[in-house]
Symmetry: C2
């Protein structure tokens, strides 16, 4: 149960017709202010607004016949759900999304539009994992977990293959990736690619303050779980704990973690909008916020941050930029 | 005094280290709704937030020694000014920007940050062209006009070279460009490239309703000037009349023009934000608005719209997406 570089290369080949090569942006003024090169991987411009399409596409394409015969099931009310529903539409695969009954309808509109079936559950009394597993057992549908899945991790790792190549054409070599982290699927995938392609490249995870289970887990060497009921404005980054596959991969890469306040995330959203014309959702701004708020210093190095998604609520986005 | 395809190829080579290759985006849901393929050239992600860097870079690089010796001068309080100031900073060229004394400071902050010298004039009693010409005569500075300049037009035309190549890798052939138009520099440059690369490709300009001098000029065959004092929410598209170089080029390409209301532009800004995570400024939304509002029908064809810029005021952008 792990992921190696060849899995990422296979994923990169598989997903290419479906996932976009997103821009790697930099701004000379920001570079001068920060004292290094800051490269921003603009995954908010990815299909359906986040990097999640990479993992979803890889997981579905790798088992295409089975998925077409029996469908797929996922539990998520966020970007993973959007990616699964979209790929289901494009590939002709029935998708079922298990969502809490109190999930905001707006967040799910596009999932429904893309043809997914929604199954709601009671967040307090029911387990989404159990409901998902039951559907999988009854229908033969493939369960695609949001992060602790080898194919999903390998798919997310394609971001690094792309970014490292793009940096090369810009005359840059990435010294550190700073990655928005929740369950750690993206960070783990990037760490596997970076360890092969750029052996001295460091990996830093960025999480919401008060919800930094990953940073604590990496520092202590054991999986730390966030206290239940914690909320954050950075709503895409609220997984309670890292995964059984993602965490060892990040440990192996000697990853470290930092956390950013909601205020830091708001400021990063504003800066990305003003300086680069980029839309970031709060959770997708954590890595950029970590650099802008000085949690990760550039020190003359080249740092690549994942701008992971753009699916922000209009009210929240307006508040950030005004 | 004209522009030919080889001028655009020369520009494309010249500007490549400075201008980004911006993404060409599409959304299968929008395609299905519109009945064709809609390709969106996301120039809001261009350096300093608009396509203007293409023309500015070409004009400055083509006369680099002279520009370094004597500086450049431009009159603009918008995206052309930002592009000139940025390229001045990057290339080590003194830039002077002639702006109306009542121009909003916010719009000029980045120009000043990039090291340009501002010269203000009285919009009512003074002529910016005369002031610019005087500075050029006194200092030897090169005047770079916003659109009616062969090198600027050739630079803007590189957008089409890029978009046509990108469309090819997406299995598409562009049947029509719809281009946000003010003085017509971008539209003229695109028309020259398209006439060589895709001989049957149509060119449509998109302007604000009530300010559609280009559409009227193209329809009547003579240069029409907008009545003085007209304003529009689409503030990047308020040039009073097309240029002596741009207009004949667009006539030769048998271009036609459409106009869109401010309401159409607002709706296009919202759709681009929701569906693609893209920031558009009002004037940069005119071409997309023309397609979404049905002013240009797809009819099974592939249509490329220029999403020309992202330098929107925060208040206006918030209003559009809420």
């Amino acid at each position: 149960m792990t992921v190696i570089f060849s899995d990422i290369l296979a994923a990169n080949q598989r997903i290419r017709p479906y996932a976009r090569v997103t821009p790697l942006l930099e701004d000379p003024t920001l570079n001068a202010q920060l004292g290094g090169r800051l490269l921003i991987k603009a995954e908010g411009l990815q299909v359906r607004g986040s990097f999640k399409i990479r993992g979803a596409a890889n997981a579905m394409l790798a088992r295409l016949e089975e998925a077409r015969a029996h469908g797929v099931v996922a539990f998520s009310s966020g970007n993973h759900a959007q990616a699964i529903a979209y790929m289901g539409m494009v590939l002709g695969i029935r998708s079922t999304i298990v969502v809490p009954s109190d999930a905001p309808a707006g967040k799910l509109a596009r999932v429904v539009e893309d043809g997914a079936t929604l199954i709601t559950y009671d967040r307090v009394n029911e387990s989404r994992e159990a409901i998902g597993a039951k559907i999988a057992a009854e229908t033969g549908a493939i369960m695609i977990k949001p992060f602790d899945d080898e194919l999903v991790i390998a798919g997310q790792g394609t971001l690094a293959v792309e970014a490292i190549a793009q940096a090369g054409t810009m005359g840059a070599r990435i010294d550190r990736f700073v990655v928005c982290a929740s369950g750690g699927g993206l960070a783990a995938g990037i760490s596997v690619a970076a360890q092969t392609m750029l052996p001295n490249c460091a990996i830093t995870t960025a999480e919401p303050s008060g919800h930094d289970d990953m940073a604590q887990s990496l520092a202590s060497g054991v999986l730390v779980t966030n206290p239940p009921g914690m909320r954050s404005f950075q709503d895409a980054l609220l997984t309670a704990t890292a995964g059984d596959i993602t965490f060892p991969l990040l440990q192996k890469a000697k990853a470290t973690g930092v956390s950013v306040s909601d205020q830091d995330a708001m400021m990063a959203m504003k800066t990305a909008w003003q300086r680069l014309g980029l839309v970031l959702e709060p959770g997708g701004a954590a890595a950029l916020a970590a650099v802008l708020a000085g949690k990760v210093a550039l020190n003359g190095q080249t740092v690549c941050v994942t701008a992971s998604g753009s699916n922000a609520d209009a009210e929240i986005f307006a508040k950030a930029i005004l």
